[in-house]
């Protein structure tokens, strides 16, 4: 019998955790409403409500041990939400970089922009494809660009030793038309034909010397920083210069070649025709993708890896917190053993007792989850980090993004921990022989 109940409890734990981790908030609302109705309408429900209110009203007297559950769970949720916010921020930054009405064209089977090469002829052919939007003068909004990397001294490091890699993008005048979100916030745009650069705000935070008016050394040439731009996406981690000047610097024997062509389409629905035209063109061997798709794919590996680390760390911490919660609730049940036994002696059944203790634990867990989520939001929302992104050749700066969805995930974890932490002590309280419990001091 004991074994059977143990087994049942074990299955209840597994099912409970699954349910809680996959809970959507309308479902939780329904559960809460049902629980409320049960408490108001049925005899056992009213019993459960009164036992719960006793437990909750005495919580303040057990502040120390209740705090253990709250803080333990808050810690788990804070770490989990912070890690997921990092992955989320990274993904969102890259996703914002693309849209479904702009497209990127690269040489066939290139994994990323840097490994692609398009000759001058190819870039001209691509700009003539159907479906490309035209600017006020009737020119197609197509921007052949050249992506390379540059080594610059990193912020806070030795300027001679600690070099980091930054992505340098050679662009033409159409690029500004295409990326209407990129705004110069300081200084001016570079002059075509000159060794001038504009730096993204993210790059400016990451590297030394990216101030308007400063000169930086790329290889053996000096380039002047003339402006800072803001675009609120991955591009902000780049330096932009005139493709006609960047090209010869980096590709002495192929200065006219580019790595990719970005185009603005007349609309998202023009993409299929645009792609079909380029793919069937015998003069070209290219891959065509919407920028939304391209940049989302770039973030996939890294954000998945960060999420996985977050979940593993969170899971180990959660197991630790479960034991903490179990400990506290067992102690709480033990100190109230007589009280509970008395209730049962005067006719309260087992179920209301189980429900009451579960509710009490879940309440503590919920407070912990909210606290942890709030802490993660307070400390990490908007926190700037950077990494070398896959498919890019430079440091990518991004901000942690603590979204509502993530906070909800954190609360679901908290509830799952509370569920396991409360179930066993609740069962013990309900099954303790009344006579033994009454004798306990």
């Amino acid at each position: 019998m004991n074994f059977l109940i143990g087994l049942l409890a074990f299955f209840a734990v597994i099912v409970g955790v699954m349910v809680f981790l996959n809970l959507s908030w309308p479902a939780l609302l329904v559960v809460l409403v049902l629980l409320g109705l049960w408490m108001v309408l049925t005899r056992r429900g009213r019993q459960a409500a009164s036992v719960t209110s006793i437990g909750v009203s005495t919580l303040t007297q057990r502040l120390g041990s209740s705090a253990v559950v709250v803080v333990g769970i808050a810690g788990v949720v804070a770490v989990l939400v912070a890690m997921l916010a990092m992955a989320n921020g990274f993904r969102e930054t890259l996703k914002r970089t693309g849209s479904d009405d702009t497209a990127i064209v690269m040489r066939g089977a290139s994994a990323s922009e840097v490994s692609s090469v398009l000759g001058h002829d190819a870039t001209v052919v691509i700009a003539e494809a159907p479906g490309i939007a035209k600017d006020a003068q009737g020119r197609p909004i197509a921007s052949p660009e050249l992506v390379v990397a540059a080594n610059l001294p990193m912020m806070g490091g030795n300027p001679e030793e600690d070099f980091g890699s930054v992505q340098l993008r050679g662009i033409g005048e159409m690029a500004w038309e295409l990326r209407s979100n990129a705004k110069i916030v300081e200084g001016r745009k570079f002059t075509p034909g000159m060794r001038e650069l504009v730096a993204g705000k993210g790059a400016q935070r990451q590297f030394q010397g990216l101030e308007v008016g400063h000169e930086i050394k790329l290889g053996n040439q000096m380039w002047k920083v003339v402006g800072i731009f803001e675009s609120n996406d991955a591009m902000e981690s780049e330096l932009w210069g005139d493709a006609g000047v960047v090209g010869p610097t980096y590709r002495p024997n192929g200065g006219n070649s580019r790595t990719s062509v970005f185009v603005r389409l007349t609309g998202a629905n023009a993409f299929d025709a645009f792609k079909a035209a380029l793919v069937s063109d015998p003069r070209l061997q290219v891959d065509v993708d919407t920028t939304l798709n391209y940049f989302s794919k770039q973030s996939e590996g890294t954000s998945k890896a960060i999420s996985a680390i977050g979940i593993v760390v969170g899971a180990i911490m959660a197991i630790g917190a479960v034991f903490g919660a179990l400990n506290t609730m067992f102690a709480a049940v033990a100190t109230r053993a007589r009280e509970i036994a008395t209730l049962r002696a005067i006719g309260f059944r087992g179920l209301p007792v189980v429900v009451a203790i579960m509710l009490e634990t879940m309440l503590l867990a919920l407070i912990g989850g909210l606290l942890g989520g709030f802490l993660a939001w307070l400390v990490f929302n908007g926190y700037t980090a950077s990494t070398l992104a896959a498919g890019s050749t430079g440091q990518l700066t991004f901000e942690f993004d603590v979204s509502v969805a993530l906070l909800w995930t954190g609360i679901k974890w908290a509830l799952a921990i509370g569920f396991i932490g409360g179930l066993y002590p609740a069962l013990r309280a309900a099954r303790m022989p009344v006579t033994t419990a009454l004798r306990e001091s």
Binding site: G75, A111, G219, V313, I319, F323
Partner: protein, 386 residues
């Protein structure tokens, strides 16, 4: 020491509570062990005896830039340089573009520069004689079930061959093993630079980076400067670093591992202190009368203090040691489970030392308050239950 059984008995007075607390502590130290192993393996990357005598020379402009091969004899002529090898990035993928297989195109003497890469003389001979041959690391061979003599198709993400296709195919002629797990080539493929250079129209006598060994490690800085001076003010300026410095630089750009690990561990241990501290307070409060009895029997205040303190330190140490032992056990299974992806999760002496120091420290910290309370206990009040 003679009171150990007394402390032990007090600790397991309430079995469920102690075991649950112990499990939380074990989880905390399990996490500590794993994260510290990651931190250490990142910190130690490139820090080997063989690595110390290697210098890496790459283009100063950026890491995607190549260098002329004409630099090789010039570097070899710098005084103090023992030998020079070179390599190019090939960027291979096997079967699916997502199955990345790190592949370098290397000079004939590349393996001489990396003595920690073990290749049997027969395999080495076979590789030298077959221009289309490749060497693959042991881990890759296991992962994909390759056999010597197999034809291996590899897709380059960058370089097309002479037909304009990026699907290359090679013959596997030998295995690279790693001495003491030091060689990163264990998870890599090497092909002949000559074959690469002749086949792809995109590379004309260009080299990705040079690796040179120095005769005297103490002169590495001077030699690095001399090598960079060779191409100063040319259109292919170089940057030469020791292998250790170069690796550290990469990792720093990937992520601030130290900071991440420290903040997670901070959160974990803060929670742990609170949780275990509460348990200890409870345990001592429960035993008030027992402690009073001990004092009545003649245990001095200091001894009672030591007993309670010893209890909490023992609890933490027990959990810490079990947790770290678990990490070691996982470290042994993980490499085979992850197919060689995660390779370096053994707990080093320094992690053990740090873990045990942390356990003792936290033990003293959380034991302090209950121990002081136990020490100040007034026998009469305690026995009367006041």
């Amino acid at each position: 020491m003679k009171y150990l059984h007394l402390i032990w008995a007090a600790l397991f007075r309430r079995k469920t509570r102690t075991i649950l607390t112990l499990l939380s502590i074990i989880m905390a130290f399990l996490l500590f062990g794993l994260l510290d192993a990651v931190r250490v393996s990142f910190e130690d990357a490139g820090k080997s005896a063989n690595g110390a005598e290697r210098l890496q020379t790459g283009a100063r402009l950026s890491f995607i830039q190549t260098l002329p091969k004409s630099l090789e004899p010039k570097i070899a002529a710098v005084s103090g340089v023992k030998d020079v090898a070179y390599a190019n990035w090939f960027g291979g993928a096997y079967q699916d573009p997502h199955n990345q297989v790190f592949t370098f195109a290397v000079s004939d003497n590349y393996l001489d520069v990396y003595p920690e890469v073990l290749v049997t003389p027969e395999d080495r001979k076979a590789f030298n004689e077959d221009l289309n041959g490749i060497l693959a690391g042991e881990m890759l061979i296991k992962k994909y079930g390759w056999k010597i003599g197999d034809t291996i198709p590899l897709q380059s993400q960058i370089f097309p061959n002479q037909e304009g296709s990026k699907n290359w195919s090679f013959k596997l002629v030998g295995v690279m093993k790693s001495k003491d797990g030091d060689a990163f080539q264990e998870g890599m493929v090497l092909l002949h630079w000559k074959k690469f250079d002749e086949t792809t129209p995109y590379n004309q006598g260009e080299v990705g980076w040079y690796i040179s060994r120095v005769k005297d490690v103490n002169q590495a800085d001077r030699i690095a400067r001399d090598i960079d001076a060779l191409s100063a003010n040319s259109d292919h300026e170089t940057k030469t670093q020791t292998e250790e410095a170069a690796t550290r630089n990469w990792i720093k750009q990937m992520a601030d591992i130290g900071l991440i690990v420290t903040s997670i561990m901070g959160a974990v241990f803060f929670t742990l202190v609170l949780l275990t501290g509460n348990t200890m307070m409870q345990a001592v409060r429960e035993r008030t009368s027992e402690l009073a009895v001990l004092k009545t029997m003649g245990f001095s205040d200091n001894k009672v203090l030591a007993l309670v303190l010893g209890e909490s330190v023992l609890l933490l140490l027990l959990g810490g040691v079990i947790g770290l032992a678990l990490v070691s056990a996982i470290g042994m299974v993980l490499p085979t489970m992850s197919g060689g992806m995660i390779n370096n999760t053994h707990v080093g002496i320094s992690s053990w030392a740090l873990g045990i120091a942390l356990a003792s420290g936290i033990g003293v910290l959380i034991g302090a308050l209950p121990a002081l309370r136990a020490m100040r206990l007034n026998i009469v009040d305690a026995l009367a239950g006041r």
